[in-house]
Amino acid sequence: MFSRYSLLPVLIPVATLFLAGGVAHASPSDAQWQAINVQLTRDHILPRYQTLASSSAELANATDVLCQQPEQLTAAQTAFHKTMDAWQGIQHVQFGPIEFLMRNFSMQFWPDKKNLTSKQLNELLSQKDTASLTPEYFRGASIAVKGLPALERLLFSDKAQTPYGCQLTAAIAGNVATMSREIAQEWESQQLPRIDAAPGGEDYYEDSTEAATELMKALVEPVEVVRDLKLLRPLHKGANKAKPRRAESWRSERSLRNIQLNLAALAELYRGNSTTSVKALLIAEGESELANQIDTHFQQLDRTLSSIDKTLYQAVKNPADHATLKQVSGQMKALHSQLEEAMQKLNIQLGFNSRDGD
């Protein structure tokens, strides 16, 4: 993600430097973290990036087909949904190859407070320049037109069915597929070896705890980011003042699904597998209650979100649903605090971890 709104605010609390001294339990060992790093990288991150790579390749194919057969719009939209599912399932990871070459912004420039995606897409559509359809063009193009929000605007309107509009759609889908493939490959070839080599301390990471800190940021920070950007901004100041168009992916009517997928991914990151997990580590530190509360919150959030039978676009304007979503927001806030507390117990200093919520 993201744009101006989330040119994220980063706060390194000086206080955390001192908090560590007050923790009574022995911190988890570097070896314990290494086991978690390896498990999460292999079972959580790599498969999710592979899914993103394969689904976006299918999307690129589907848009190519669309340009030959305009009646295939639904198939292309379905392929978009699969790609967006995959992206929402790995959006929380904001370190590693996704950072390189501004891929994070390039995959999804959002929220777009200045309406740049609309403006710049309209310009491309009116110019109809074939030079703007090449991979070379997209390498240097504005982050506002080369990712998933631009694709959504084209595919969920009549624009993708015009000849040039379709070519542009296919070109953007091609760019997304290329980025996704490269990210998946680089995780295998570069980031995985770095994580494997962390215990030696002679490569990219100083130790396993440093590598684990990046994974833990991917667990904790998104709870707050998702709440602020995806929930509170459209909810705004009440059902009668709601701003539904601030919802993510409202055109493809999947705003709530995105949030659920985000939380499901974070829950998986937290629960690990039967032997190795952040949750198990917390329990081993004598924090069973906290560990279970976090787990319960993930379950509750999923249940509550599943109970809403409207799109987020409609729900924010409906008083009853608005109230339910405010509860969800409160639960997410509580979950975020608990995760922060868990990080203190585990002696992980998140560093760039805090956003100003205004």
């Binding site: 993201f2 101006r4 709104y5 989330s6 040119l7 994220l8 605010p9 980063v10 706060l11 390194i12 609390p13 000086v14 430097l17 950072e99 390189f100 070459l101 501004m102 994070n104 912004f105 929220p111 777009d112 407070k113 200045k114 309406n115 740049l116 609309s118 403006k119 710049q120 309209n122 310009e123 009116s126 390498r139 240097g140 193009a141 504005s142 982050i143 506002a144 705004h236 100041k237 009668n240 003042k241 701003k243 168009r245 601030r246 409202w250 760039f352 805090s354 956003r355 100003d356 205004d358």
Partner: protein, 431 residues
């Protein structure tokens, strides 16, 4: 929107070591008192806002002349007066972050970016709707009544009250900028329709001509320009008062005590350098390649606005400001204070501030030679992008020394404006 990054405490260790080493090598200069430094800082604020007010009044006079007699020459004179008014105002921006009175007020005079379709007619390329802003194309100049969503606006009379109390940030959307320098800029220049090619906005003077009106509703456009300019003068008068000897901003500053006051100066320097100027106003432009991603997007005056922002940061550090009449306000400085604690750090920071000024000057000279900021940030302009990137790098570099100064003076816990476009280790040029 506020984004925060704290000053890295990581810097503390190395900075302190540097400080000790320096003291062993050199005789530290005699340090001024913190109170004296804060006094200079407040005096420079007063002088800078006074100059902003004087130049805004000159702008007001030339706008009145333009409206009395809408000729090309009078429009050009009003534009020149606007640009001249930016010189002192931009230097005041170093006071924005850290002084609550300034930060709360700033949105009225210098809010940016704006959805200019709120105010007047726009080109079709601007688009007709925005997910973020229901008032994206409200066009107050053309519409005496605007109904959007649940809100009805009676805009039958365009005056200061309508702009300041109803339209500005209407519907809680920050891009609804109805007042301040940039609203006036849009009215004087109009949209810059040259994309990332050379050329600024080119509003015809007849847009203000009652007898030969272009663009429609010239009477209302004139009212708007007049009200916005008068409002700017009012707002600046208020801020001058805040920094007078008995002013509220000065009192707030002094009430913070020596440590708190010095923190305020450094917070302002660091936040403007990094999150705001390097990030929001510059780096983001390189990422978006959009002609409106420049601070003064209608006038193409961004290079000077950036230059004088950087100058303002230098002013507060050196405790010295050259007024628009050429006289100099000068006194005990933060630089002297840092020098007493860590001479090498002071030298380094002064050198970095100079370096930023040079990078900004290169950008300004390139712009004046026909390649303004929106050309320089264009896609497929690697040379131009590089010139802008140098300014970002210089600002980022000086921020690191500002952070060290905070550590050396033992002013922990300061939050600086951060920027994800900067914090991500990415390179636009590698794209």
């Amino acid at each position: 929107m506020k984004f925060r990054a704290t000053v890295l405490s990581l810097a503390i260790g190395s900075a302190l070591l540097t400080g000790c080493a320096d003291q062993m090598q050199k005789e530290p200069a005699a340090a001024p008192t913190a109170d004296a430094v804060l006094g200079t800082y407040a005096d420079i604020a007063l002088a800078t806002y006074e100059d902003s007010l004087t130049t805004a009044k000159a702008l007001q006079a030339s706008v009145n002349t333009l409206l009395a007699n809408p000729t090309e020459a009078n429009l050009a004179a009003a534009k020149a007066a606007w640009k001249a008014a930016r010189v002192p105002y931009q230097q005041s921006e170093a006071y924005r972050f850290g002084n609550a009175i300034v930060d709360d007020w700033e949105g009225r005079v210098n809010a940016w970016p704006l959805d200019e379709g709120l105010i007047d007619y726009v080109d079709s390329g601007y688009g007709s709707e925005s997910d973020e802003n229901p008032f994206y194309t409200a066009n107050i100049v053309a519409n005496k009544t605007v109904k959007v969503g649940g809100i009805t606006v009676d805009a039958s009379t365009i005056n200061k009250k309508l702009l300041a109390e109803t339209l500005h940030e209407i519907d809680d959307v920050e891009a609804n900028v109805a007042t301040g320098y940039h609203a006036i800029e849009f009215l004087l220049w109009g949209q810059d329709l040259n994309g990332t090619n050379p050329g600024a906005g080119n509003r015809p003077v007849t847009d203000f001509d009652l007898n030969n009106c272009t663009g429609g509703n010239c009477d209302r456009r004139r009212d708007y320009l007049s009200a916005a300019t008068d409002l700017l003068v009012d707002d600046l008068e208020e801020m001058v008062g805040n920094w007078a000897v008995d002013g509220a901003a000065r009192a707030d500053l002094m009430a913070k005590g020596p440590q708190g006051g010095l923190s305020t100066i450094l917070t302002g320097m660091g936040s403007l350098s990094y999150g705001e100027l390097a990030g929001e106003r510059t780096k983001l432009g390189l990422m978006l390649h959009d002609p409106e991603e420049e601070h003064d997007c209608f006038s193409d005056n961004t290079h000077w606005s950036h230059y004088y922002d950087a100058k303002g940061i230098q002013n507060v550090y050196l405790g010295q400001y050259t007024r628009v009449d050429g006289s100099v306000v000068k006194g005990a400085s933060l630089s002297q204070l840092v020098s007493a604690a860590a001479p090498a750090l002071d030298e380094e920071l002064r050198a970095k501030l100079d370096n930023t000024e040079k990078a900004m000057k290169v950008m300004a000279d390139t712009a004046e030679a026909g390649n303004p900021f929106d050309v320089l940030i264009g896609a497929n302009n690697p040379e131009g992008n590089q010139i802008v990137q140098h300014a970002v790098d210089a600002l980022t570099d000086q921020t690191e020394s500002i952070e060290q100064a905070i550590a050396v003076l033992n002013l922990d816990g300061i939050e600086l404006e951060g920027s994800d476009s900067l914090d991500n280790p990415t390179s636009v040029l590698a794209e």
